[in-house]
């Protein structure tokens, strides 16, 4: 944002003001560059932010410095508006669901394999006492036969 320079200091501005170019009438209206100085940093952006945040109308930004800024932001806003219309790729949903299905199959396979291993262990655990019992019964039967015949 620019302000009228009411108290000109020394420097280029002051020199230029004191010695206008020969072809410029002394009473001609000053150009914005001649009569305006930048506001402190921060204040320069306040009106611009207010406009970009939708708090004030663009017409509220009228001076020459913000005209350049407005032009930049108009172009950036056009571009970001295009980005706002971007849609995700149509195959994304399918890809994610396929990946989840594959993970699910792998999970089920792993679970089934684990269950099979556990099942085999359980079968062994069940078989062992039965085998021992049969062996013992055979031994007892054999001993009884020997005793009967002997």
């Amino acid at each position: 944002m620019m302000h009228d320079e009411l108290t000109p200091r020394s420097g280029d501005h002051a020199v230029r003001r004191r010695t206008p170019p020969a072809d410029t009438p002394a009473d001609a209206p000053a150009t914005p560059a001649d009569r305006e100085v930048p506001l402190p940093p921060g204040a320069e952006f306040a009106a611009l932010h207010a406009w970009l945040d939708g708090e004030v109308d663009e017409m509220a930004l009228t001076n020459a410095q913000t005209a350049r800024q407005r032009e930049v932001w108009r172009r950036i806003n056009e571009d970001t508006a295009k980005m706002r219309r971007l849609a995700s790729p149509p195959f994304l949903e399918q890809k994610v669901m396929q990946a989840l299905a594959q993970a699910s199959v792998a999970e089920r396979t792993a679970t089934a394999a684990a269950a099979r291993v556990a099942g085999q262990g359980a079968t062994l655990e069940l078989t062992w006492p039965i085998a021992t019992g049969v062996a013992l019964a055979c031994a007892l039967l054999g001993a009884a036969l020997v005793a009967l015949l002997g």
């Binding site: 932010h49 980005m83 994610v96 669901m97």
Partner: protein, 188 residues
Amino acid sequence: MTSAPLLTPSDQQDADQEVIARILAGERDLFAVLIRRYSDVLYRHAVGMTGSPDVAEDVLQSSFIKAFHHLGEVRGRFDAWVFRIVANACKDWLKNIRRTHLSYEEDTEPSSFATPDEELDRTELRTDLDWALAQLPDSLREAFVMKHVEGRSYEEMADLLGSTVGALKMRVHRAREALQGLLMEKYA
């Protein structure tokens, strides 16, 4: 969000919770409903943050898979929860790309913009804007993308990021000032 604009946030949350409950009960295919509901807005965030449609697609894919596996941990709004997963994935990607000194601009893979028109829309300004955004700290870039690319209000941003409206306004303002400094010379 964009696919269900007539629902209030509360209705949306209830609808999401119902879908989540059914997925957790075994109807896994219903996860596609949540993907459809939120993928566009999350994709825009990822493109804005990474500057690359290809990377954005990867980020979304891995984020949705992660979300599915942790669906039982959702407390409150699903959209805010899944947004945080995607936002963190984008920041992790940015950290990695900076650490390895690689740039997505060096990516020679063909672009995955949906149509040739969209490819043509990738103007010089877009390239310059991506470059300028890449110069910003992640938090400023994130705030700018949410405000200008996703078109969110400051209140919505504060809700999603767990921050205050004032802090987010400050971040957006600082991002604008930095971007303007970087682009003014060429475009004013």
